[in-house]
Symmetry: D2
Subunit: 348 residues, 4 copies
Amino acid sequence: MFEVGIIGVTGMVGQQYVKLLAEHPWFKPKVFIGGKSAGKLYEEAVEWVGEYEPPKELMRKQVEPAEPERQKADLFFSCLPSEVARELEAKYAAIHRVISDASAYRMEPDVPLIIPEVNPDHLELLREQRKRRGWKGFIVTGPNCTAAGLVMALKPLHDEFKLKKVIVATLQAVSGAGYPGVSSLLIIDNVIPYIKKEEEKVVVESLKMLGTLENGKVKPANIMIAAMCHRVPVLDGHLESVYIETERPIKPEDAKEVLRSFKGKPQELKLPTAPENPIVVREEDDRPQPRKDRNAGNGMSTVVGRIRKGIDDYSLRFTLISHNTIRGAAGNAILTAELMYKLGYWEV
Amino acid sequence: MFEVGIIGVTGMVGQQYVKLLAEHPWFKPKVFIGGKSAGKLYEEAVEWVGEYEPPKELMRKQVEPAEPERQKADLFFSCLPSEVARELEAKYAAIHRVISDASAYRMEPDVPLIIPEVNPDHLELLREQRKRRGWKGFIVTGPNCTAAGLVMALKPLHDEFKLKKVIVATLQAVSGAGYPGVSSLLIIDNVIPYIKKEEEKVVVESLKMLGTLENGKVKPANIMIAAMCHRVPVLDGHLESVYIETERPIKPEDAKEVLRSFKGKPQELKLPTAPENPIVVREEDDRPQPRKDRNAGNGMSTVVGRIRKGIDDYSLRFTLISHNTIRGAAGNAILTAELMYKLGYWEV
Amino acid sequence: MFEVGIIGVTGMVGQQYVKLLAEHPWFKPKVFIGGKSAGKLYEEAVEWVGEYEPPKELMRKQVEPAEPERQKADLFFSCLPSEVARELEAKYAAIHRVISDASAYRMEPDVPLIIPEVNPDHLELLREQRKRRGWKGFIVTGPNCTAAGLVMALKPLHDEFKLKKVIVATLQAVSGAGYPGVSSLLIIDNVIPYIKKEEEKVVVESLKMLGTLENGKVKPANIMIAAMCHRVPVLDGHLESVYIETERPIKPEDAKEVLRSFKGKPQELKLPTAPENPIVVREEDDRPQPRKDRNAGNGMSTVVGRIRKGIDDYSLRFTLISHNTIRGAAGNAILTAELMYKLGYWEV
Amino acid sequence: MFEVGIIGVTGMVGQQYVKLLAEHPWFKPKVFIGGKSAGKLYEEAVEWVGEYEPPKELMRKQVEPAEPERQKADLFFSCLPSEVARELEAKYAAIHRVISDASAYRMEPDVPLIIPEVNPDHLELLREQRKRRGWKGFIVTGPNCTAAGLVMALKPLHDEFKLKKVIVATLQAVSGAGYPGVSSLLIIDNVIPYIKKEEEKVVVESLKMLGTLENGKVKPANIMIAAMCHRVPVLDGHLESVYIETERPIKPEDAKEVLRSFKGKPQELKLPTAPENPIVVREEDDRPQPRKDRNAGNGMSTVVGRIRKGIDDYSLRFTLISHNTIRGAAGNAILTAELMYKLGYWEV
């Protein structure tokens, strides 16, 4: 068992870490780190949003202020707001191993942006990171919650059919905005067709993750991507409807087969939180749906359905669901930690 | 004042007709025609869904069975379910003027499919229709509720920049499915990424309306269109996010100007229910939204916002809202009736 | 035309004032007063929540800081948060006429707590207020949004049947919590059975308003009231289901008649915003409903339905809807201002 | 292992049976009985509403028509609509053991209406039933979903403080209306203050279950009950806010203790689906909430909170949540079956 810290433990994603780590076979949540809530017991500090409450011993943990020098843990998970992440994560990384869901370091050239099934080879960037930063620890990041599901589905299609163009429209859950996040006054009987900086992040992060490692650097994939992001009155689970154009002809049946058979390192290594199928393909006309499919593979699988022709033989349409606070944040980071341990990346 | 009949008066769109005609300066609702509800008073037969109730004298009208020979009115509006529309509308058209929201005749080569601001010239198809069908009356149709808003926005863009490709993702209101329509068990905290036959209708109807009249026939527009339709927990108002590619370079500022200045025959003729602006352009980051924008122009305007670059100089993204039971059904049909009267099409 | 100021103009109730006063025949909104937003244009400062936007000239008004000495208006409406209302309203009242929706002064013995149809005679407390406080202006208050609808319905029943006990369960809209107010994460697919201090306010304010003026003081009504308050996923309109016990026998038909025929001073004086019927009685099994009934009488009527037997001949059950930001706040205050003007209370 | 049949297997409650029995240690779902869906595979016949799908072998079971003579099982669970339940359940009971959630037989004097923790002694009515009806099997019923949670909470309070009066307001989930049930057009941004026959059922069923067995008959409890029922936009879980008056003085702290320590036969006998605590008491101001508390004890516990003074020392207010399709239907019936087996009631 390794001891881990959670930086930003009271937020939506912080809560998801607490829930997922409460029963993790390798990682034991030891240090809870908060901002304004430091000094309180976790149960006093947190507005627990989800249905299932964590065990009492976690609820009664004391929230500590951010003090990297004084705190000890084998690994720190960070889900800080971007504003504070930049400075604080660097302080932690100077001493500790850090895996972060924050956006601050995602696009740095020497920072791996990882979905374990998609681009585990990008972890090699850590050699460059150590050299350049002189940190004793490291920072590895996970993608934006929308990019996570999208790239999971695009990866096997790109490998097989070579993507040229991707037009994606998202219908995103309110939990993606954190707590209190979206006011009920804005979202009941409504849709908000705008999420700040989201469309930009989806594009650049997707291209980095689908990119190739060349000479110790990531060369972004050469795909044209346009995103149109919407907030909808759904609690959890980002739905994304995707239109793609490919270099090679793409038949819906072939695309299904490619998606269905996709496996990655986590499945190969049988990592504790790896879903059996990173992608679940559904055949029903009306699936995937957020409420019915967001928890597939304990929230770690991307569910793809409505796979159908685009406008010609070189295009395709499909819809996917990915759980935004699990695969899109805490769950992906935990799986990354498992993968890094198994592959020997804890010591670079 | 002309007297009009409403065929299918108890359904969602039927209710919208009653509401809109209650105060219409030219048309007076005289004949209420229903199926199973024939024989009852309207107030007994209808499950009135909207907020504002119609005047008592309309609520206490008797619903009559469909008997075209016995019924007299200057014009009949039909909003029948497709299954029964095919046969019944023909019977009415044999004797009466019929403007229909049903899908049965929309794609017939001799039936005009009309948005008054977009393709009033297609009314010329009526000459062919009369010749071929031998009806004393006629059938003119309005489009599917999703195509209505889409084509309104595409028309001026197509005229100016020549469209090559359109990828549209829709977030459609539950009222589009009629009453009782979508079960609350399916849509609370959820999205359904499927509406039967909707994607196909959007494509073929849009191409017909954007097509050109040549030798008494409509030649469909030569545009590649792909639609991805979703039902969301919103009461009224279809939101559509659109990605387009054009033959000529398209700058967001130019597109805005083209959309903003778009006017049609109804505005020129100052028809009673013509909105001042068929297209309203909004500049805020987060508009249009269904709840805030669906009633623009009394539900007759299409509100367009988030006009921004696509992936290059020949592509564009934008979001629109159109009220699905007003401009997408009853309101569009009433405006078509006004237009036809003014242009002399009541007598072909 | 009188010129009025709105203190707290950017909040939910402030927005309701702007909307209602935009077209008021007597009152012209002149001074917009805000806290943090002072110095900005109203359109920059406000997150406009409702559907219909106010006229441009109001949207472009400058928001001013609270400076009672420098500001001039015939009347100030205040909808300040309670924390700041206590001190700031006193400063305004020292110089100006103030009608307030804030809770700070409602229960002061020399401050009238007014629903114009219910207890206009309580305005006499102003004599005592002037004597005791030495203010050149005054403070008159309106009730908590839940008490407003409840007392409107109870008043005629109390007069006729003499109430002994009232058990009321409320289903309150999210707009009652202001903006941003209730997080969507808490209320989608959920109910929150708690609103801070609400149950206590409903009791004490109702008893004061139903009380009698004796020797220049209000003697609270002698009724046992218990409230159970819930927040539900509804935008506007508080629904309240009420069980009452009375001293005199009460038949549902008699109660209906008493409610239906209730009129007050505002109706008698034909005040501009007085609804024709302060209470609208509905006979349908399933009414009133928030969405269908909250706007009755432009949001100024209380709609009562499901009037039925309680447990015996001395008890009754019924359900009511009252618009929480109109009759429960801004609308009630505006009507109070109209009434006070007509009755000569602007000069005490 | 016993083999069981489910009559009405495609409805909302039928689905809940399939889900709960899929993993039951004693009962194996063998016969699936439907109406119009007979002849189809279950996966074709059912519109599966919940999140988790049952195992494939159950999804691929064939749905059979109702043919009591030909069907064999140790026990039949019925969740038929009331209209057909009366006749069909009698046919099954003539041959088979039947436990029913339908309302048809609940109020028959010789039919036990059972919550296992509340009135297991009422099973003695079966002696009378056998005598009178001459059935080889039997019918035992479970209560209406609203009465289930209410009576669970009232039972220990009645035993300790003797109830005189109960005023209950309910906020009920849409799943209580079955599928498709409540139209989304009626319930988004709305509340419906009416559920057909519900208020009557709550009263008479509660009085029967709280009644005493005297001379082989149930004497209803002598309590005055009034119910006010509302449908709210919540998927699962009925919330009920309750005001009670008692003969003996009742302090909130004492009531809590009585509720918290309540146990029944199922707990004593450690039945497989008995929750550890039939009543869970929560101390937070804002609990219980449907989304957070409906699944307590796997949906078998009633969660009670906001226990506070009523209007005097002889009254109390509190709020409860009970899962309407588990404890309010399938779960309660399964627990009843377990109890009856253990107590020897399978052979009367």
